[in-house]
């Protein structure tokens, strides 16, 4: 099973990977380093393997969401791979306009707002994580 958190920009998928893999303490060094990657050259990043053996990765597709999902799903079909998708652009359940605005700011300008609004973004992401994230009861 390969779990792919995907979004238009890298911040939310990376944070979802960090939460899924239980890297909350280590998310600070993980996020800035990964955010600096050349996502246009390599849009799929494998973050690691969770405690249940599922491979966890994130996909940054920009405005080509459908194209990327169709292609990777098609390839998974050809080679008999099991993929699970989590959309972080439309699937978040942030409560309130303030929380949504904070997430939007952190997503769009992560170098400025990522650290400040990480808790808000993590609270919105946590309900959509697949499986049992590391460190959860």
């Amino acid at each position: 099973m390969i779990i792919i958190y995907h979004g238009r920009r890298p911040y939310l998928p990376l944070l979802a990977c960090a939460l899924h893999l239980g890297l909350r303490q280590g998310a600070e060094p993980f996020l800035p380093g990964a955010l600096r990657r050349d996502w246009r050259a390599a849009p799929l990043h494998i973050a690691g393997k969770d405690g249940e053996g599922a491979i966890v990765g994130c996909l940054v597709h920009g405005r080509h969401r459908g194209l990327y999902l169709r292609t990777l799903a098609g390839m998974a079909g050809l080679f008999g791979l099991s993929l699970a998708w989590v959309d972080l652009d439309g699937g978040l359940t942030a409560s309130g306009a303030a929380a949504k605005a904070k997430i939007m700011l952190a997503d769009r300008w992560p170098t400025i707002f990522a650290r400040r609004f990480r808790t808000t973004a993590a609270a919105a992401i946590r309900p959509v994580l697949l499986g049992r994230p590391e460190g959860e009861p």
Binding site: L44, Y68, M75, F79, L81
Partner: protein, 152 residues
């Protein structure tokens, strides 16, 4: 083994290359207009389906041959597919991806634009086939190179 030819829209270059590979188009002469149009997917891939791989058929080695459109995301998408397959432990000998887009000439691009974007289907197809006929030997050479690689 899965062999995937890819191009921009998955409607012209990759369809023709995969059809030559499967033997649906001749390798010893340039096909006529009707032979191109008779291909089931030639100039027919719907824009909303670009990205899905389609099976063209099987070649003489028993390999499955697919064609695929990747728009202008060929390099990043191929990198993503490579990462996915490597991560999943798929043997690199189980697949072959071949870019057919560089073989497309200006006429075929214009014809495809007229056919798909401006709905001038008949006129656009005529121009795509005209361009494809002029470029056909390059497609045959590409497929021959792929098959030579498979034999080794």
């Amino acid at each position: 083994m899965n062999i995937v030819y890819y191009c921009f829209a998955g409607a012209h270059a990759s369809v023709v290359a995969s059809a030559i590979h499967c033997g649906y188009l001749p390798a010893d002469r340039v096909p006529a207009y009707g032979e191109f149009i008779a291909l089931p997917h030639y100039d027919r891939t719907a824009p909303r389906l670009i990205g899905s791989p389609y099976l063209m058929g099987r070649d003489e080695f028993g390999h499955n041959v697919f064609f695929l459109g990747l728009r202008d995301q060929r390099l990043p998408l191929m990198a993503a597919v490579g990462t996915l397959l490597t991560t999943a432990g798929v043997n690199s000998g189980a697949y072959l991806f071949q870019d057919a887009f560089p073989l497309i000439n200006f006429s075929t691009k214009i014809g495809g634009l007229l056919s798909k974007r401006y709905c001038l289907t008949s006129f656009g197809r005529l121009i795509t086939v005209w361009g494809m006929q002029r470029q056909y030997p390059a497609f045959v050479a590409l497929v021959a190179a792929v098959k030579d690689g498979l034999r080794q």
